[in-house]
Amino acid sequence: MWENFFKELGFRVETSGQTNRKILEEGVGLSENEACLSCKVFNGHLSALVNKNPKLDYIFIPLYKSLRRGYKSCPKFFALAEIAKTIFSHLPPILNPEINFTKEKLDRTLYKFGLGLNKSKAKKATLFALHTLEKYQKDLERQYFQKLKSKKPKIVLISHPYNIHDNFINLNITKKLKDLGVEAITIDSIPYKEQIFYSGWDFMDEMIGQVREVADQDIKGAIQLSTFNCGCDSILIGLIEREFRKAKTPYMSLIIDEHTGDAGIQTRLEAFVDTLNL
């Protein structure tokens, strides 16, 4: 979505690419020891981006404050740009728009942001961005309904989007599950009815809603993938494992850090899938 937004505004867009060992190690080296793995990965990507492209005009680091009206996002997101300025001595100017659905809808935020960059193209860029986002969400939903029809045993994979779609960090878990003959439904693809369960973090009530929605389907197991020192997950895991306990669905949580080996995860997945077939 963002890539299309900026391209429509007339920018050339460079990305840091997929996470790899170098990015991870660089990020770990730059970050606080106790920072969550995801923040370390972020810093690694920032480093890779800046090193690959010495002549950038801007770096885009949005401030995700609230992705659902009345809720807040993970507080680690809030200061990413400001902390980046502490870690890196020289950075190109940072574009740091606040994405806050409690304050205003996304279309307004995009439009105002676009106006500041390229007045004449702002409206078109906004519409294109929103269209891209909508298409992406519809695609995910279509995948969900397709997977529901599958004859293979279905497992729901629960994690934050930046883990679900990062095959290096998640140790290629979706492929591993596929190879084990399982249909892995990712939580972000599940449509759900917006309700207030616990309030607070936007992803909290979203995930609880998605978990309750999918629990009514014929799900054989649930795997929650978390990363080291994710503060949010330390609470979320406690709540989600109880949801599955209530639904009497087998549940497993995995915590991945920078040292987690492929073999270890493979073993745990095999063991878990084995228990499902009993």
Binding site: E32, P75, F78, A79, C230, G231, S234, I235, G238, I255
Partner: protein, 355 residues
């Protein structure tokens, strides 16, 4: 069944919570002092990676329930941005799963009246409610007065341990004092008792500011008596984040906004918990000419880990030595003592080179 109210331990503020509820007619079960034993059950039944204060709370609850028959738990939910807002929610589920037959009240702005009604607080006439709040506030101020005086006296005391004795004595008396009149008299007694401690008037102690997460700063078991250790090393301690400050900011949001503005050049955004406070307080300490800052936080604390690089940057740019301690169940007192000694040595070295 009659309510037996308990709450998490929080350093000397025990005295305040106890007074508040006793004056409202409740039987209060003060949680036993936090210790290695009391946190065992907390560690066993809490999620492995949750922040340390959560585990300490759970340990306190279980001990109060099992050893003293507490059946009602009072907790706070400030609805902030860090994990703390979910403490009550998850702690209640943990206690339910353990099969305890208790009531759990997690107070926030939305449910406060409903909860108070359920507890039966409104059976008290209004004058009693006001009186109870007033006494609690006075006790809070006296707790902090005793702490302030102890931090000022300890580095200067001629007889090692005297400050500690006076402090324990008056905290105990404060706990047992009930009326506003007696509290006023006690304030004078406390000031007198501390000024009677023999001190070396020529000593000029180093001034060390403590910033960080409010719970670990208050709870002496968690920070392994860092403030006492620093006092014994000859340093005068100041704690930035106090319960009274939180209450003042709550009652006057404008004062809070002005306070945060101080952090601006280094950090504009809130990061949850007391992260932004740590930055603002450290800048205050730099401005006021403190000799060093000790940063206390639970291991993995989201807000404090976020701001740690900024605190380090302030330390470099303002030439203000910083010691950042990460605390959890594995923190050893000896290890902390060693680091504090090295820190004080470093500051003394730096000072002698500058003169």
């Amino acid at each position: 069944m009659a309510r037996k109210i308990t709450f998490p331990n929080m350093g000397n503020y025990q005295i305040v919570f106890k007074a508040l509820f006793e004056n409202l007619g409740f039987e209060v079960i003060s949680p036993p002092k936090t210790s290695k034993k009391s946190i065992e059950k907390g560690l066993e039944h809490s999620p492995e990676f949750v922040c340390f204060p959560f585990k300490v709370n759970v340990g306190n609850y279980i001990q109060s329930i099992e050893e003293k028959g507490a059946n009602t738990i009072i907790m706070l939910d400030t609805q902030g941005e860090c994990r703390f807002r979910y403490y009550g929610t998850l702690q209640q589920k943990i206690l339910d799963d353990l099969g305890y037959n208790i009531s759990f009240f997690s107070f926030n702005a939305k449910n406060v009246l409903g909860h108070l009604r359920k507890l039966g607080i409104f059976k008290n006439p209004p004058w009693r409610l006001v009186r109870s709040a007033w006494i609690a506030w006075q006790k809070l101020r006296l707790v902090e007065l005793i702490e302030d005086l102890s931090w000022r006296t300890r580095p200067r005391e001629r007889e090692s341990g005297k400050t500690g004795t006076v402090m324990s004595k008056y905290l105990d008396i404060l706990d047992k004092t009930s009326s506003p009149a007696k509290l006023r008299k006690l304030k004078r007694e406390i000031s007198k008792a501390f000024s009677n401690v023999e001190i070396d008037k020529n000593k000029k102690p180093l001034k060390i500011g403590i910033v960080g997460e409010i719970y670990v700063i208050a709870e002496s078991y968690v920070h392994r008596d860092t403030d006492v250790a620093l006092g014994n090393l000859g340093a005068e301690v100041h704690k930035a984040v106090r319960t009274s400050t939180v209450v003042k900011h709550f009652l006057n949001p404008l004062s809070k906004k002005n306070f945060y503005r101080q952090a601006y050049p280094y950090l504009k955004t809130s990061v949850g918990g007391h992260g932004l406070d740590s930055v603002a307080h450290m800048l205050e300490y730099a401005h006021e000419g403190f000799d060093g800052v000790v940063h206390l936080a639970p291991f993995g604390c989201m807000p404090e880990v976020t701001v740690r690089p900024i605190l380090n940057q302030i330390s470099r740019e303002k030439n203000l030595p910083l010691l950042s301690l990460s605390l959890d169940e594995q923190s050893a007192e000896a290890g902390i003592q060693t680091r504090l000694e090295a820190f004080i040595d470093l500051i003394k070295d730096k000072k002698s080179h500058n003169t």
